[in-house]
Symmetry: C2
Subunit: 299 residues, 2 copies
């Protein structure tokens, strides 16, 4: 009979920390069962409930240990009942080496990509290793996920489709996450954009913000709109995300604001053909390896 | 006799959620004691300990509730003993209205500041409301905190001082946070920079990264270097922060990479005199109010 996860975990011992994030309070660990099977335990502290009865229960049951007190300010460690303080977790077992590698946290490295680096290194990387774009073309031709589309400008050159990102539930407005994908093929990233693309970019910005307001009631000044650079797939798309949501890779060295791209192309028509763009890549990343082989990054 | 915090909190009831952050797992609440005093309770879930014995204790005592299971992947809520899952907190009591207002979370709004907006709105804001810079001049003239300086280029025009930020303990390399402040007065923010300032900016970049490597052993490709726009004080300074640290306001709409500023000024000598810069401000912010009064932001 299959062992329950509870039973399996009780028979397992801690082997190694695969990764941790002190800001978001998560920890990924490798464990090994007495039978030799390995497992990956991903733990993530839960957000506080905002329900009045849960908060009242915490206040009533809180057990304070004073760290320091100064005038009206005091710092305390608080112990609260474990049912009010659950850890959201995923246990993956048995886990093979590939699964384990996926959750092993890797150091990141800053790359400064000059325009020359882009032409001599990154283009080769894209041609060799870029993901198959069939799924993108399926979405654009409405063979897949057509019911998810919330706006479309069908123009093949300047048009685009707008749809909720698959990671968003479509309901929680704090996590609003909508993706615009252009109809035109062959625009791989912001590197391919010039001032000729300003009508398309301004069209995406204004129509997407209007649609998000109409459909979800979220104002344009509550939205962070950006590209990833490097993107995870090389067909131009724009992320529209609630300001309240601290989305992965929405930060500097990963994201470039749509407003900044429009501003830059207005000032310099071939801005992205001439600029140095700075971003991070993980230790095992192929592009980082190629920059290092070319002597453009420290080993 | 003074009531202990424990006693005070037991006599208090929940009034209102002042703010919450589901990503970082924190909650700020307003409470009121039976005696009429108000208090602010700031709660922040603790990061996981990475000590082997603590992790082993969690694994041994974890109580799993299955949410769903699919093949090798399973999701569970885990209850763990409360002493392994403390909440870091601050209790401020009695708290007056000003203290309460400080912790009340405010919505943020995106502002797109054109070059014209900067000249007609923001400059007036800076002149009226900017913080006194005496503390900055004290640091630069070494009347204060001179022992904290880790590097100085004393040149009055292109020089700067480099020192650990007051929020950093100087020890935990994951949170490395070093600040460069220029010697020259009157450069309020990146808006005042032109290509004439490139020698200063390149000097700050190269000398700071070398110093951080020599003093702390942290490589240049492990550092995120950026300005804030808008800055919190109007004397030009650069943040050098560990890539591993998710520092407040290091993200898009708050931070502008030093590398991007250098690139932009190389391409367009008066880039920051001509550009639209996009950032967020809180609901009660004076600058946002001025943009709204000028009809440049939605009310």
């Amino acid at each position: 009979m299959e062992k329950s996860a509870q039973e399996w975990l009780r028979g397992a011992t801690f082997k190694e920390v695969l990764g941790s994030d002190a800001s978001h309070k998560s920890l990924f660990v490798l464990v090994e069962h007495a039978n030799g099977e390995k497992g990956v335990l991903l733990m993530n502290k839960s957000a506080f409930s905002e329900k009045a009865e849960d908060i009242s229960a915490i206040i009533k049951s809180a057990d304070l240990t004073e760290i320091m007190k100064n005038d009206i300010y005091g710092n305390y460690d608080i112990a609260i009942p474990s049912n009010l303080n659950l850890v959201k977790s995923q246990l993956i077992y048995p886990a093979n080496d590939k699964v384990i590698a996926k959750y092993r946290q890797e150091e990141k490295f800053v790359i400064r990509e000059t325009a020359e680096d882009y032409r001599t290194i990154t283009v080769e990387y894209i041609e060799k290793y870029q993901m198959d774009l069939k799924w993108v073309y399926n979405v654009l031709s409405k063979n897949k996920e057509a019911d998810r589309i919330i706006y479309e400008d069908p123009d093949p050159y300047n048009g685009f489709i707008l749809a909720p990102d698959i990671k968003w539930d479509g309901v929680t407005m704090e996590n609003l996450y909508v993706l615009a994908m252009i109809h035109r093929r062959g625009v791989r990233s912001i590197r391919d954009l010039t001032a000729d693309d300003l009508p398309m970019l301004e069209n995406i910005r204004s129509r997407s913000l209007v649609t998000i307001r109409e459909k979800y009631g979220v104002r344009p000044d509550q939205i962070r709109a950006y590209f990833h650079y490097q993107p995870s797939f090389f067909h131009l798309h724009v992320h529209f995300v609630s300001l309240k949501y601290d989305a992965p890779a929405s930060t500097t060295l990963s994201a470039v604001l749509l407003d900044d791209v429009i501003n830059n192309l207005q000032l310099v028509p071939d801005y992205y053909k001439k600029s140095t763009l700075t971003f991070t890549r993980k230790a095992s990343d192929k592009l980082l390896e190629m920059f290092r082989e070319a002597g453009r990054c420290e080993k």
